[in-house]
Amino acid sequence: MDKENLIQMYYEMVLIRRLEERGAELYQQGKIGGFMHLYIGQEAVSTGLIAAREPRDRVITAYRDHGVAINCGISANEVMAELLGKSTGMSKGKGGSMHMADTSKNMWGGHAIVGGHLPIAAGFAIGDQYAGNDNITICMFGDGATNIGYFHEALNLAKTWNLRVLWVCENNQYGMGTAVDRASAVSEIRQKAEGYGMKNSRVDGMDVVKVHEAAAEALKYIRTEGKPYLLEIMTYRFRGHSMGDPERYRTQDEVKKWQEDDPIGIFRAYLAKKKIALGNDLDGIDAQVETEVQKAVEFAEASPEPGMDQLFADIYAEN
C-alpha cells in the first residue's frame, strides 16, 4: 500500500469514530430515534476490508453500518442526515441508522434482520454470475448471524453454485449480550465454513493493515478461482450493542483491556514507526475530521424533513 492509501484509511477510521461520537450525543439529545448501533472499536475491520476491494465489488452489511457507509465513500453529511431522518439522507430519511445504502458507491445496504441479508448477498452473486462478470460480493455480518438458518442456506448455495462471495464474519465476541461460546457450537466461527468445504481464515481485526492484507488475499482467491471464501475477523466493540445497552454481560475491566488495543492507536503507532506520517500530521487530519463532522451535523440539522409526499412514495415502482 502506498502512503496516500494508508493516510486515507487513517482518515476514514477517525471520521467514523468522531461521526459516531457526535451521533451518540445527538441520540441522547433525542435528535436521533430508533435503534442505533455504534461501530466504535471495530473501525479497522471495514476500513481494511473495503480498501482492498475493486470499485465494482458490492458491499452489503448488517445494521452496524455507519462505518461501512463511510468506507464505501458515502459522505458524512448524508450519514448524519439519515441519522436525523432528513430528506437529504441517502435513504431520504426513510431508512435511518440501520438502513444506509448508495448503489452508486456499490454499498448495498445495512440490513437489520440478523442473517437476513446473507441469502440476498448470494443473490447478488447469482446475478453477477448470470451476467458473466467477475464482480465479488463482500457480505459482512456478526458472529450472532452464523447461528441462524439463513447463514447455512446461503453458504451452502454459495459453495454449491460457486458464487463469488467474500463472507466476512465480524466476530466482536457477543451477539447482543450473549457471548459467542454461549450461543455457537464452535466459537471459532471460521470452522463453520469447513462444513461446506469453503476456504477460510481468521485475522486480527484491531490491526487495519492485517485486515487489509487478509482481505486482499481472499478477494484474489475468489476472483481467480470463482469460489466463495469465509474470512473471520476478530474484533471488539467498545460501546454497547446499541444505545441504552446496560452491558451486564461484560466487565468494565474487559472493555478497558480491549480499549488498550484501540485500532486507531495501533495504526497511528504503525504509521509513525514506518515513518509514513508523524503525530503532527495525523493531528492535522484529526482536526480536519473535527471540522467535517461539525459541518455534517450543521448540514443535517439544517436539512428539511421529508415531505408528506414521501409517505406514499416508493412503495411500488409502477402505480
Binding site: K94, T103, A122, F124, I126, A131, W161, A313, I315
Partner: protein
Amino acid sequence: MARITMREAISQALMEEMDRDPAVFILGEEVGVWGGTYAVTKGFYDKYGPERVKDTPIAENAIIGGAIGAAMVGQRPIAELMTINFGFSAMDYIVNQAPKLRYMFGGQFSVPMVIRAVGGGGRQLGATHSQTPDAIFAHFPGLVVVSPGTPADAKGLLKSAIRSNDPVLFLEHATMYQVRGEVPDGEYTIPLGKSTIQRPGKDLTIVTYCKGLELSMKAAEDLAKEGIEAEIVDLRTLRPLDMEPVLESFKKTNRAIVVEEGWKSYGVGAEIVSRIYEQAFDYVDAPILRVAQKEVPLPYNRNLEQAALPQVPDIIAAAKEVLK
C-alpha cells in the same frame, strides 16, 4: 383463440418471456431436470440449459433471498416455490424483505422478481400442504399479489408480472392446472391490479378470484336456471386491490356475496365486505355474506376435506340468502 389448459398457459407465458428477455431465468426446487413438480417447466431445462433453469437445494430462504438479490442487481428471476405452504419457511423474504427494500432505501432498490407458488386444497395432502393463505401475503404493502382464475388471465398476468419492476407473488391453484379456456393467440398482457367482470348479471354480485371463480361460474349457471342472474367480479390481483368493478356492480345489484377458498376469519372476504360497507353503504339492501373454508386445518380424508372446502351448493345457498 386456442383452447388450452391453465398449465399450458402458464408454461407459454414463461417461455415467451424467457425468449423475449435474456435477463429472465427460473430457479426453484425440481424446476429443471425433473421438469417442475406440476410439470409447468417441462422441457425448459433442455431448451434453456442449467444457467437459466436452476435447480436449487431445498432451501426456501436461499431461493427467495437469492432471487431478491439477483433482481436487485438487474436480473429478472422467477423463483418457484414448490407450494405456497413452503413460503412460510421464507416468510422473511416474501413479506419482510422484498416489499420493503424500495421504500426503506428511499427508492434506490428495485426487486423485479416473480415468486410462482401453487396453493389450494382438495388433493388430500393433509393440513400443512393444502392451504390457501393468500390473505396473509396480501396484507403487506410493497408486495403485488396475483391469483388468476382463467388460463387467459394466467398467461396475461404472468407476463405482466415478469415485466413488472415490483416483487410479485403469483399464486396458482393445484386443482386448476387442467382447467381449459380460450387464450388469445400471440402476444398480449393483462395489467396487474385490475379486477374484471367475468360474467354479467343484474340480481346479485359475486366477488371472487382463482378457485372461487371456477366454483362461482358453475353456481351462476345453476342460479340462471332459476332466473337469478349473478354478476361475477374476478379480483385477479389481491394487492393492489381494484375495487372499482366491485363497487360499480354492487351499486347496480345492491346485494353481494364473496367467495374465497381461504379461511373466512380475517380473509379476503372480510376486506371486500368492509370496503363495500365503507364505500357504498347507502347501496346495501341486504347483509353481504361470505363463502369460505371452514375454520379447521384441512383433513386428509376426502369426505372431510370436501366438507371443509367451499362448494358450489354453498355459493348457491348464500346467493339465495342475500336475495331474500
